[in-house]
Symmetry: C2
């Protein structure tokens, strides 16, 4: 099985690559080749199969990024929410023209006699709007309130159409806000959701731009990776024309998240400072905090673990590496 990860140097890309390297298989098929593509060449994981890393621009992707015989493409490359809001042209280029480039690369494989590759695409809860009291079901319309969400929703349409035409075989997963992200804060408007857990667990302060009662639709990196792998191996025949899915995330309030933080490291939430930020609050305030995800359950996407496990997973999976990456001393236990 030949697999490509576009955005292979990113947070989820690295986790998916590490998982594939460890397992050596996807679903019930052994992996023969893995290609990792990103703006800067991704690191190679230790794997029992050949791994190729390529640096380049998604829009002008070299053919080697999705080589002949590719079975699965993880299309994770994106310009994130606050950045797409700050730079319209960059967001449109990467999030829309980049998706067209993925379609065209797959079309070329099909035109040359190959099978349409499975394309697993990370769309986002940011493609919806609704406010704090919204509960969205599987038939909810995407009325985005930010450019990132609009571009993701448009990319879903393009991928679903390319699927119908036989150019590829897409599954778009509208990821909740993924917490706890390792590393440093990034330019996603939702960056603080991770920071208020991660930074205190590193012994550092973090700013909270929204009220404690603020509710959000979140998922853990573990669950996000599970869902991406499930989407890569699942039977798509039952999806019909609609190639998008709202996965079974979990709804939490900031207060509940900080309670979970304190359960894992007593007193840690004292490092969280209330610093209102209207710009951030305006963006995330329109992301609906609850979804009814019947379709995802029917399609076999794994249910979510409790919030306290999400906090614990950061300590188990990512704290060590984040301390090293950022040159920080281990905080007192």
């Amino acid at each position: 099985m030949k697999i490509s990860i576009l955005g292979g140097a990113g947070f989820l890309g690295r986790k998916v690559a590490a998982h594939l390297a460890l397992q050596g298989r996807l679903g019930d098929r052994p992996i023969s080749n893995l290609t990792l593509f990103d703006l800067t060449a991704p690191l190679k994981p230790d794997a029992g199969f050949p791994v190729t890393t390529i640096a380049g621009d998604l829009v002008d992707m070299p053919p080697e990024a999705i080589p002949p015989g590719t079975d699965v493409v993880f299309h994770l490359a994106a310009v994130v929410s606050a950045q797409a809001e700050a730079d319209y042209d960059l967001g449109r280029r990467v999030n829309l023209r980049g998706t067209d480039a993925v379609v065209d690369a797959c079309r070329r494989l099909v035109a040359a006699g190959g099978r349409p590759p499975r394309v697993v695409f990370t769309s986002s809860v940011a493609s919806f709007s609704g406010g704090q009291d919204a509960l969205l079901d599987d038939d909810a319309r995407q009325v985005p309130a930010n450019s990132y969400g609009a571009q993701k929703a448009a990319a879903e349409l393009i991928l679903a159409d390319a699927t119908r035409r036989g150019f590829l075989d897409a599954v778009s997963i509208r990821l909740p806000t993924v917490i706890v992200r390792p590393g440093r804060p990034n330019r996603a408007a939702s960056s603080f959701f991770s920071a208020i857990v991660r930074e205190p667990l590193l012994g550092l302060p973090a700013d909270l731009p929204v009220p404690d009662a603020f509710a959000a639709w979140v998922c853990s990196p573990r669950r996000a990776v599970d869902w991406l792998l499930h989407a890569a191996a699942m039977d798509t025949a039952q999806m019909g024309l609609d190639r998008s899915v709202n996965p079974p995330g979990i709804s939490t309030t900031i207060a509940h998240l900080l309670q979970a933080l304190d359960a894992v490291k007593p007193g840690a939430s004292k490092l969280v400072r209330r610093v209102a930020d209207k710009e951030i609050a305006a963006i995330v305030g329109l992301w609906p905090p609850v979804f009814d995800t019947m379709r995802a359950h029917t399609l076999g996407f794994a249910a979510h673990e409790p919030v306290v496990d999400v906090v614990r997973a950061f300590v188990e999976d990512d704290r060590e590496a984040t301390l090293i990456e950022r040159g920080l001393p281990a905080p007192p236990e």
Copy 2:
């Protein structure tokens, strides 16, 4: 008031231009300039204000197509359904890159200090799917079953986002199948809906590719033009983030349409030949035949006239010109 029509040589573009020329005003404001843009230079209507015609490619639009000070842009340029299905690259280029070009042209006016122009965009019922028993309300999701519809839905997202950002002020109208189109059959999958009325009224036979019981969501050219003009002049503040509207078309069956044809010209429906066409039926068979259009009524879009008036309107407005254009003799009454 300065107005541009992109797709000014097309069927609706010419009708909108003729109406503006006749009225000399849009809403309560006099027109100072009209620019007509298309692949081939549109004909100039007789008008009491200057009319400029420009030929060019939408994607590489010259700045004169939307000159400084433009108040309203009618963005009607498109690659139609059967053609977008036959030529993916062309459809994507015109229907998506073309819409980006409209956004960029408006952005340049705003960056130079102008007001965001109103952009009236013709989206389509083809952006929905649902089958013959569907009744869609204003919250129905667009799950397109053809590339044209997918591109229109994506363009709506791009225009709504550009509106939110202040680049322009969009109203996207999801037009029903417009009947009766004058002139010749075109490459829209829905072309037969017009042909089975138009051709018999010209004394010519026409092929019907679907059963007589087939139901469709249609509107007349008169009503389509009304809606476009209303969208150009209406107050958009009440639309919020959602800049698209399902206008109040009318649901009709083929049988009912042929009955209306015979009411206008007795025996005319004998010229309609049943010639099943699976390809056409597969495309139009997924366009929902009924909408509940409460939002459009609230926004002031005019209600539709009965089907028999739609047939009569072709005789009154377009039969003469179509006979001349196609070099046909007047049929016996």
